[in-house]
């Protein structure tokens, strides 16, 4: 689904990403971890083609991103769902309108909107908040709106950049549960986060970045792929039972 081959991004002063090479398969749920400034956001911004790589090639769904011309970027972005730490909702629109906007952008008809939006809002548990404005919602609710907006088109790929960064632990679990549920419909999900505890509990494939380099790429096979979201939530709420050897298993970086 996603393929980075020798991708570097140099900013005017420092290096955002340094020779990153990795691939993510269709239907995967992958975490991108690392401290602030490690290059997580650079990966995300490269994927939504907000910035261009200095070198290397990025392929998404088999398409080379450097071949997507500026004019076609909006159409490319419609194949992605994107969730941000600061939600990025339209403040002058209600919950319903915010989600509907993603469909209007793609030329969705009114009938289509009327059919799809209530569905996705039910899935995200926002049915009672249809006509509220974003500033009348809690952080968790706002993030759920932004996930609903990202997913209403049923994109094959969902990107989440620090989706729980502004939320408390309990709400974070709800959000992760929602992302997991979306993943189970076959959508590839890539989550950038620095919430180590969350990542440990989720037991999914982890890509760790440090100063722009991939320092760990680890698929822990400890989770059951067909875990229900309920079981998933239970496990997430359970006291931290770190699977042994997860942290010891660090792939050493030769050049460090």
């Amino acid at each position: 689904m996603i393929e980075f081959r020798g991708v570097s991004k140099h900013y005017s002063r420092d290096i955002g990403l340094d020779q990153a090479t990795f691939a993510i398969d269709r239907g995967d749920f992958v975490f991108l971890v690392g401290s602030t400034g490690s290059g997580k956001s650079t990966v995300m911004r490269l994927l939504i083609k907000e910035i261009e790589p200095t070198e290397g090639t990025i392929r998404v769904a088999g398409r080379d991103l450097s071949q997507v011309i500026r004019k076609r970027i909006p159409f490319y972005r419609r194949n992605l769902g994107v969730v941000f730490q600061d939600f990025k909702l339209l403040p002058s629109r209600t919950v319903y309108e915010n989600v509907a906007y993603a469909l209007q952008v793609t030329g969705g008809t009114r009938r289509e909107i009327r059919a799809k939006v209530p569905d996705i809002l039910r899935l995200t548990g926002l049915s009672t908040k249809l006509h509220n404005y974003p500033d009348q919602l809690s952080g968790g609710e706002q993030q759920r709106v932004s996930i609903a907006r990202a997913f209403v088109n049923h994109p094959p790929l969902l990107l989440a950049d620090e989706p729980t960064g502004n939320l408390d632990p309990e709400t974070s679990i709800d959000i992760m549960r929602l992302l997991y549920r979306i993943n189970r419909t076959g959508t590839t999900v890539l989550v950038a986060t620095h919430d180590q505890a969350m990542v440990d509990k989720m037991r999914r494939r982890v890509l760790e970045l440090s100063r722009g380099r991939i320092v760990r790429d680890e698929a822990t096979g400890l989770y059951a792929r067909d875990e229900t979201t309920r079981e998933f939530a239970q496990r997430m709420r359970a006291p931290s039972t770190r699977p042994p050897g997860l942290d010891v298993d660090l792939v050493p970086d030769e050049e460090l």
Partner: protein, 292 residues
Amino acid sequence: MRIMFFVREATRAMRRNAAPTFAALATVLVTTLVVGVFIPAVEVTNDAANTVRSRLIVDVYMKGSATRSDEARVHRELIAIAHVRSVQFESKAQAYSQQSKQNPAAYQLLGTNPLPDTYHVFPDNAGNVLAIHAALSPNGGVIDPAIQSVSNKKGYTKRALDLTSAVKWGGLAFALLLTIASILLIANTIRLSLYARRREVEVMKLVGATDWFIRWPFVIEGVIVGAAGGVLAIAVLGLAKVALLDPLFSGWSLVSEIRTIAFPALIAVMIVASVAVSALGSGLSLRRFLRV
């Protein structure tokens, strides 16, 4: 369906951003009003200047002894001079009847006709009057023995030319400045209101909206604001015309022949300008916020 969607988006944005919308509307109203007052004012002064300029001609007075063949020869010579548009002959009898009508008592007293046969020489352009004058009287003499003299209003002509061209160019420069100032003012007001909404534009782009999908509502908003501001300005102007100017000029023969731009034409210019400036301003100012 698409258009209706964009119009709804535009009106929603205006409702949600009432204060900036009002500011933009007020700016359009005031600038359009100023331009609307200024265009007729410039027209009137230009017209006055043109009237003065059209009176600038050279008179060539013939000798009393000039024969018909002399006259024909002089006429040919006058026509041949550069920058002469036309030459008009006025016989001494015509001149007498003309003048005695204006001042019957004085001409009654004179008894005989003291006026010479005259050629009025019209320049192609008022600015060339002095050149024609110089060509007609080289070194203070005359170009033909049948000519008695050439009217000598050199000083007056020069001053009239300087003054009228100053008025015209001044008016033009002022109009240009005013237009630029209006456009900048409107563009700036629109930019401010867009700046407040730049986050919204960014989000729209991230969701996958094309540039024009985002831009159309802004352009329509500009059209609506421009049209509303223009219509209000015209209403104020029309009120002022009916209430103040029309009673002032009716029955006042002195300035009765003021010719200025027709009111419907003025209205058309104002509305088109205000709509175009504010729609273009919205569309263009948005460009820098669309680079996401």
